[in-house]
């Protein structure tokens, strides 16, 4: 705090400053308002009867007894809800040839995964609804379940949806040509088969919705725990036939989302339909078991990959085969192909080589739907790439740092493109590598590692470079026909007392959207942050926009706020010019005052301008119309995505007797362009790293051969807890994007994108003295012991 004066010392210079979140105080006092807390007059509760089978025909439903139970208001089947809801299909046009089946809130005749909701029971309380749900009898005729990814593609295997012809959702190929020849002539080839388990978001607050349909006005209000309220406004309007302007989606405090709460879930659609059938509010809150069984799962890939190098250790080509299983249908509206698409397009992208061939098969199976979760595809792509780079280092006798420094795209080579089509504006792989090396004291750690090995202590160091997709333009979803906005909107107002309200379409999930928007508006309007109220998460009070996903909040929402603030400032200055009889270009706004731009001398307070504008317009010069509210929209142009980049390192110790891993430390050097709030960016990074470490070491949705999830509780499914997690050191390199004035890129997914890769390399490094290797996540103790040949 006692540093010399910097640009941060100007009044209202908030960008780049670590300021805490004003809205966090409420949460600390226990005054959060989550969907689970919401109670409306005459509200009812729904519980669902779920399928015990992974694949079965519904033969009959008998709800006679259940209907007579206390408190029961309605029991609805698929046919009942089909009357109010149009089906949806989770495909996008730009994934050529992808297919999926139409979905309804509840199935008409077939169940396709264990735990699928079949019958809805609405009652006065959740407990009564659950009692009655137990009395509903559903008769099934079991069908063979398709579980295994190879079996799913074998001719003669049962087809889950016969109308689709086979169990293939999508098949993609990339081929720059001559790959077989290049591999045949390579000095070195390394290859591996990787397995990535399914895991899931396990948000602390489960999915929740309160749907409130008023038939008198044909008006639906959905209080919905989601990160994308506008997307759901559009979906509810179209699928339930309600005019869009009559649909309001409110997303208040959300207890974690990470991509999981932006997909359409059958139960949520059913809850809206039930509210329409009943004309009363209906609440659905998933319990923890329902969350495990029905929240989207993530990953689930088997990747066979090889890398070719010349005799100098230069990577010359990669060849990849990814099979990913996504459940029985593709998720809506973002599909279940984006994950695989990002895996096979992100592999290898930090490196210079231009020869690439990849095959992606997205396969249906009888498990719950798989779709986007934090860092979509990235953890798989970089675990594969970075493990092969380490294997190549071992093969060529190069140090892992050295092989990367030979192969990463040079920092002065931009703009450039990956062989997979991604375009990079400007990245800083080498600067990040150099910074990491010094941050972690790499050479000392290597010396210590060698020393400890002599005492039979096995430590490993793993490094992983990465890029991350952020600030997505319409190329992401819009071009595929999805009604998902890539633009954002803000309406910003000076109130009569000179305060500021900014209603903006990016949403708050605790990552700090409202805080950074307040910082940006404060700085660019010239008003103290304390006087700015940021409003988010309500389609009725904010303009339509993309909200938050794929790390777009700061980059796109932040730019929207910046431009809105500038436009409003122009209006303020022009009005002040009229009032003061001064040239507008001689005026500025600072700390809530109109000042002389040159001297900083205070001329008139913003509150006084507002008072005159709102209450004494008669005193303004004739013809002056004060405009103290402005609207601004912003959609990214230029590069289709603003890629960020960085590098991570993991330091672990493996107990070779038990297979247990102690994670000693983790480092991240990250370049997300202009950093708006270092405090918030670093905490995004840490939270993201830990989610990736969960996937690397603990988290897996384990199914049996019949498609039953066997560990669907928080006691059985392991999540990272405080005791197992390391301290995480973070540093930044800042390469602002020139596509926006703000220059910010995303940072929410970078941690998750490469921490599994770093961990995988660290464990392999630790067990290298035993000529052992592991290529499966999570790296459980028993898998590590198996890799060591001890069991």
């Amino acid at each position: 705090m006692s540093d010399a004066l910097t640009s941060l010392d100007r009044p209202n210079s908030y960008i780049g400053r670590s300021v805490p979140r004003p809205n966090a105080k409420r949460l600390l006092a226990g005054r959060g308002r989550y969907i689970t807390d919401i109670v409306l007059p005459r509200m009812l509760h729904v519980a669902f009867v779920r399928s015990p089978h992974a694949h079965a025909r519904i033969v009959g439903i008998d709800a006679e007894d259940a209907r007579k139970m206390p408190g029961v208001r309605l029991i609805a089947t698929g046919a009942d809800l089909a009357k109010v809801c149009k089906p949806w299909v989770g495909t996008l046009d730009h994934f050529k040839g992808m297919k999926s089946t139409p979905q309804l809130p509840l199935p008409l005749d077939k169940v396709v995964y264990a735990g699928q909701a079949v019958v809805a029971v609405v009652a006065d309380t959740r407990a009564l609804a659950e009692d009655a749900a137990e009395a509903v009898l559903v008769e099934y005729e079991e069908l063979p379940a398709v579980i295994d990814i190879d079996a799913a593609r074998t001719p003669g295997t049962p087809v889950i949806s016969p109308e689709l012809g086979d169990n293939i959702c999508f098949h993609g190929k990339i081929d720059t040509g001559d790959i077989d020849t290049i591999f045949a002539g390579a000095a070195h080839v390394v290859e591996e088969e990787f397995h990535f388990g399914r895991h899931t978001a396990v948000t602390m607050e489960p999915r929740a919705i309160v749907a409130d349909f008023d038939p008198n006005e044909m008006r639906l209000t959905a209080h919905h725990a989601t990160q994308t309220p506008y997307q759901f406004q559009d979906i509810y309007a179209r699928h339930f036939g309600i005019p869009e302007a009559n649909v309001r989606v409110v997303a208040p405090d959300i207890g974690g989302s990470f991509g999981m709460k932006l997909h359409v879930y059958h139960e949520d659609m059913a809850t809206v339909g039930l509210s329409m059938l009943l004309g009363r509010p209906v609440k659905y809150v998933a319990d923890r078991i329902e969350s495990f069984v029905t929240d989207i799962h993530a990953r689930d890939h088997r990747v066979r990959a090889r890398m070719a190098l010349d005799s100098e250790g230069t990577i010359i080509a990669m060849d990849v085969d990814d099979v990913t299983a996504v459940g029985p249908f593709s998720a809506y509206p973002r599909t279940s192909v984006v994950e695989g698409n990002q895996v096979f397009r992100l592999i290898g992208t930090p490196y210079r080589f231009q020869n690439y061939r990849a095959d992606l098969q997205v396969v249906f199976q009888n498990k719950v739907q798989m779709s986007q979760y934090r860092a979509v595809g990235h953890p798989i792509a970089f675990a594969v790439t970075e493990r092969l780079v380490d294997m190549a280092a071992a093969r060529t006798g190069l140090d892992p740092v050295e092989i990367r420094s030979r192969n990463l795209i040079p920092d002065d080579a931009y703009p450039c493109a990956a062989p997979t089509g991604y375009k990079f504006e400007s990245l800083s792989h080498h600067a990040c590598l150099a910074r990491l090396r010094e941050l972690m004291d790499y050479d000392r750690l290597r010396a210590e590692q060698a020393e400890l090995r002599r005492r039979n202590i096995y430590r490993g160091i793993g490094i992983a470079s990465f890029v991350e997709i952020s600030n997505p333009g319409p190329a992401f979803y819009g071009v595929g026909g999805a009604r998902i906005s890539s633009q954002d909107g803000a309406v910003i107002t000076i109130t009569p007392s000179g305060d500021v309200r900014c209603a903006i379409s990016v949403t708050e999930l605790g990552q700090g959207t409202e805080t950074i928007v307040g910082q940006i508006v404060g700085e660019h309007l010239g008003v103290d942050r304390e006087r700015i109220k940021v409003i988010t998460g309500d389609t009725e009070n904010t303009p339509h926009g993309g909200a938050v996903w794929a790390c777009r909040g700061a980059g796109i929402g932040g730019e929207t706020a910046l431009r809105a603030a500038r436009k409003l400032k122009e209006n303020v200055i022009s009005l002040a010019g009229s009032i003061l009889q001064e040239q507008p270009d001689r005026l500025d706004v600072r700390a809530g005052w109109i000042v002389d731009a040159a001297s900083g001398r205070q001329r008139i307070e913003l509150a006084e301008i507002a008072r005159i504008a709102y209450f004494r317009s008669d005193t303004l010069p004739p013809g002056t119309q004060a405009q103290l509210t402005v609207a601004q929209h912003f959609a990214p142009q230029g590069f289709p995505f603003a890629f960020t980049n960085g590098i991570q390192a993991s330091h672990v110790e493996v107990d070779v007797e038990t297979g247990f891993v102690k994670i000693l430390k983790h480092w991240v050097v990250e370049d997300c362009g202009r950093v708006i709030n270092p405090l918030l960016v670093d905490e995004q990074m840490r939270g993201g790293v830990v989610q990736g470490l969960g996937a690397a070491f603990f988290e897996e949705c384990v199914y049996d051969d019949n498609g039953q999830l066997t560990n669907g509780s928080l006691a059985d499914y392991l999540v990272p807890m405080a005791g197992e997690m390391p301290d995480i050191e973070i540093a930044h390199v800042e390469t602002p994007t020139l596509d926006t004035e703000l220059g910010a890129k995303g940072c929410g997914e970078a941690g998750t994108a490469a921490s599994p890769a770093a961990a995988l390399n660290a464990v392999n490094d630790a067990i290298a003295p035993f000529a052992a290797s592991i290529a499966q996540l999570p790296m459980t103790p028993s898998r590590i012991l198996k890799a060591l040949g001890r069991i």
């Binding site: 780049g16 670590s18 805490p20 979140r21 966090a24 105080k25 949460l27 600390l28 006092a29 226990g30 005054r31 959060g32 308002r33 989550y34 689970t36 807390d37 206390p70 407990a127 009692d131 396990v202 948000t203 602390m204 607050e205 489960p206 405090d253 959300i254 207890g255 974690g256 319990d287 923890r288 999930l509 605790g510 990552q511 700090g512 950093v675 709030n677 270092p678 405090l679 918030l680 960016v681 670093d682 905490e683 840490r686 939270g687 993201g688 790293v689 830990v690 989610q691 509780s713 928080l714 006691a715 999540v719 807890m721 405080a722 005791g723 997690m725 301290d727 995480i728 930044h732 941690g751």
Partner: protein
């Protein structure tokens, strides 16, 4: 189910008398009947720590107890601790250090922190991490929470006038 039990319990210093269903958990009772929604539920099986409250001064999982079992006891929730400013320094440290994101785990984290910081001495980082072993947080990665608790422990142990500000963060 229709038969109910009358319970008398002191909640946040106030005597409360209510009829509850035998199967109603303390968590449901606090959240539903008393509208104390600061107590959260994340697992309903005693592993996530979102539902922690104080029962006669001890930290308990309100999801694992029936409301009826709390009869005759004193219960304190996040709302009560906040109102009597018992954890104001912990809340402030969490705020400054951004030791929360979505905030759903936070009331439970604060209960654990309160219990730990009520013990004498300054816990090590490992001891803080151990104390948090029953509190799941999906957002933060825990380090900021450990930092915040460590700061409060040091401040409480330090002689008046020599308090630390929360560890400087970022650039």
């Amino acid at each position: 189910m229709s038969n109910s039990i009358n319970i008398n319990v002191t909640v946040n210093g106030e005597a409360v008398s209510r009829n509850v269903a035998p199967r109603e958990t303390l968590a449901d009772f606090l959240r539903g009947s008393l509208e104390l929604t600061g107590t959260h539920m994340g697992c309903e099986m005693g592993v996530c720590g979102a539902c922690l409250v104080l029962l006669d001064g001890r930290v308990v999982h309100s999801c694992l107890m029936f409301a009826a079992q709390a009869s005759g006891s004193e219960v304190e929730t996040i709302e009560g601790l906040t109102e009597r400013a018992a954890i104001a320094d912990i809340q402030e440290a969490f705020h400054q250090r951004n030791a929360l994101q979505c905030g759903f785990c936070t009331p439970g984290m604060l209960m654990t922190a309160h219990a730990l910081l009520s013990q004498p001495g300054v816990p090590t980082r490992d001891e803080i991490r151990d104390a948090l072993s029953g509190n799941y947080c999906r957002c933060t990665g825990y380090e900021s929470i450990v930092d915040a608790i460590e700061t409060v422990a040091r401040n409480r142990a330090a002689p008046a006038g020599s308090k630390n500000v929360v560890a400087e963060v970022g650039a």
